[in-house]
């Protein structure tokens, strides 16, 4: 190094400086990607930039004259407050329409009305199309407008069960033919499906009732009991 030509004294100076640089061993060097550096603070965009400079700003930073501010609407009125119990309201309105006098409701409300239909009674239902159905009441489901009762009978030696909606417009009349002889200790008489407890056919009981009724009414309304089953 000392044997450098005298024409370049400054080159010699640089070579003298060199040894001080790479003293740190290569292994301990950190890569640039792992070096921590603070994020540069964002410079907020000036509010009122003159129009001639707007073209220099990226598109998404430029103020958009067509964009409207986001509209915020007030929350709609709460449905829960307007109608606290909708099921009860529907039941009431439907009852007023289908059973305005409340007779049907009283006829099947066996919890409150002592004279109502009870499980074990023999009942005759006549539908709108004139078809009757008779049977022993096995159960009464009190479910508001969906109240129904289950009838069981035997037609041509085949058991037939029918669940009828009390407030159905298809049901023309419901009559109690015979009360249960003894007090039933159950609300649901499903045990009557067993052979031992089966009531079998109730047709003769109903037929005699229809005959009596006809005699009592003087045969004025003959059409109802005319069909034999």
């Amino acid at each position: 190094m000392a044997a450098l030509p005298a024409m370049r004294p400054l080159g010699c100076l640089r070579s003298l400086m060199r040894p001080s640089e790479p003293i740190t061993p290569f292994i301990n060097r950190r890569f640039i990607s792992t070096a921590y550096s603070k994020r540069p603070q964002r410079i907020p965009l000036p509010q009122n930039i003159p129009e001639q400079f707007l073209s220099q700003i990226p598109l998404h930073y430029r103020p958009d004259p067509t964009k409207e501010p986001l509209k915020i609407y007030p929350a709609p009125p709460s449905a829960r407050k307007a109608c606290p119990d909708p099921v009860a309201a529907v039941t009431e309105s439907q009852l007023a329409e289908l059973d305005p006098k409340g007779e049907r409701q009283a006829l099947f409300d066996y919890r409150r009305n002592a004279r109502s239909v009870k499980p074990g009674d023999i009942v005759r239902v006549v539908f709108k199309n004139g078809d009757p159905f008779n049977g022993v009441v096995l159960s009464i489901k009190l479910r508001g407008i969906e109240t129904s009762f289950l009838l069981r009978n035997e037609l041509t030696r085949v058991a037939v069960e029918m669940s009828v909606k009390v407030f159905s417009p298809n049901v023309q009349s419901v009559e109690i033919v015979q009360r249960s002889e003894k007090k039933r200790r159950r609300a649901r008489l499903y045990y009557m499906r067993n052979r031992k407890h089966d009531r079998r056919s109730v047709e003769n009981v109903v037929a005699s009732y229809v005959r009596q009724k006809k005699a009592f009414l003087g045969g004025g309304r003959g059409g109802q009991g005319g069909r034999r089953r």
Binding site: F133, E146, S148, E154, L155, T156, R157, V158, A159, V160, E161, M162, S163, V164, K165, S168, N170, R229
Partner: protein, 131 residues
């Protein structure tokens, strides 16, 4: 709920008394009232008494015959459009030929009214009672 292997009572005078379902037609679900099924006759009416040959001759079907049938009663409850349910004490059917006419000439027993909506009025007219 009539499906493969279900045993049904046959309630017409075709000669079969108990039949077994082997197929439900036009349906991917179990058959119900008014559905057409294919059955095998398992038990004949008055099959045991060989002396009454006249009765045996009157039988239009024999044990082992494969026939079409229409379900007329089911144990599984059925809901009507007005919300009422109907349930019978047994599963029963009526044998019909390929064109849909009943093979028997008489029927004994109640049938479901659903047959009316499915164009089985011939069976309904033969039935003594419908519910």
């Amino acid at each position: 709920m009539i499906q493969l292997k279900t045993l049904l009572n046959c309630i017409d005078n075709s000669g079969a008394s108990i039949v077994e379902c082997v197929n439900v037609l036009k349906k991917k679900r179990p058959a119900t009232i008014g559905d057409r099924i294919v059955v095998v006759v398992q038990k004949q009416r008055s099959a045991g008494s060989e002396a009454t040959t006249a009765a045996a001759l009157a039988n239009k079907v024999r044990r082992g015959d494969i026939r079409h049938a229409v379900v007329v009663r089911v144990k599984k409850e059925l809901q009507r459009p007005d919300g009422s349910l109907v349930r019978f004490g047994d599963n029963a059917c009526v044998l019909v030929n390929k064109s849909g006419d009943p093979i028997g000439t008489r029927m004994n027993g109640v049938v479901g009214q659903e047959l009316r909506n499915k164009q089985w009025s011939k069976i309904l007219s033969l039935a003594p009672v419908h519910v």
